[in-house]
Symmetry: C2
Subunit: 196 residues, 2 copies
């Protein structure tokens, strides 16, 4: 186990946004596997689980009324509607992990991230595909969606990419290994900033 | 050769300060060896070369009158007197390297670094020994100095360490391998900041 990370009493928060098909899930999972002091925030969502998704690991799958109750109770750090489904990050989950000295990675879309930029001390990282063409062919390979859903996703991706400049860091995932090294370098660097 | 660094048209500047005996020379040399896009700034000094030091690689060794002429001509980004000797960084050297897309590492003492903080766009990194005790025993092993010079160096080190909080990053060189990984991570992260 590497000791290069995990030296802080209170963990840091990292917000990662990336269009679908950019490899964010893989990249964040690599981080969690390499560093025991890094955890991924598990979001709540009202959308249905995909075939490989596991409750409590990928998401907490809840109903729309349950989700709305949590909004009313102020339990979310941020929430957003994406393609008709609600996604939200539990305040309690994030804070509890940070208090344990864990760095928390929040994988959220640009809408949620923009909300957080104003109210949360976090490092914001945007991951983008090398090009929209490349993203298109990656989504084609995934084959989990209709043509229409895919077109919608691409147009949304384009909007998201235009917001990359609002983030602190921008990683272009051209080669997974290099993109991962940049991502882990950002965490390592951030932990060694003064004034934490 | 790794391609994780070197993607910018104009290189960045990194200012590294560390008390003597902290391993800064080794760490910076590792960086220059790993990345062809990283160069170390070669300072001018009026002090005499140590046995292993090479003109143009370690320093440009010049006389005091020559040094003072360069000060008058405004050729230095910063200069400082340390233990009776003058040290200065040539503006031209740094800018020329940056224009070539090279990241320039300036290894300078805290006096010089504080001058630069006000007038130069750079990332400031402080490297410290795990403790003053450890630094003392490292300097003992070096055996290049009298007891008096060493005592002076230690008291100066203490003053320098108290300034670490003014830098952007603080690396504690407890294990060389880990300290190096942190240092390279800082360069990689900085290159991937938005708004460069």
């Amino acid at each position: 186990m590497t000791q290069i990370l995990g030296g802080l009493k209170k963990g840091l928060a990292f917000v990662v946004s990336a269009p679908a098909g950019t490899g964010k899930t893989t990249l964040v999972r690599m981080l969690v596997e390499e560093f025991s002091c890094v955890v991924e925030s598990v979001s709540h969502t009202t959308r249905s689980p995909r075939p490989n998704e596991v409750e409590g690991r990928d998401y907490f799958f809840i109903s729309k009324p349950e989700f709305e109750k949590k909004i009313q109770a102020g339990e979310f750090l941020e929430y957003a509607e994406v393609f008709g489904n609600l996604y939200g990050t539990s305040k309690k989950f994030v804070l509890q992990q940070q208090e344990k000295g864990k760095h928390v990675v929040l994988v959220i879309d640009t809408q949620g991230a923009l909300q957080l930029m104003e109210k949360m001390e976090a490092t914001f990282i945007f991951i983008s595909p090398p090009s929209l063409e490349e993203l298109k062919s990656r989504l084609h390979r995934r084959k989990s969606e209709t043509e229409e859903a895919m077109a919608q996703r691409l147009s949304w991706a384009q909007k998201e990419i235009s917001l990359a400049g609002r983030y602190h860091y921008h990683i272009i995932n051209d080669h997974l290994k290099i993109a991962y090294e940049v991502l882990r370098s950002i965490l390592i660097a951030e932990e060694h900033k003064t004034g934490l």
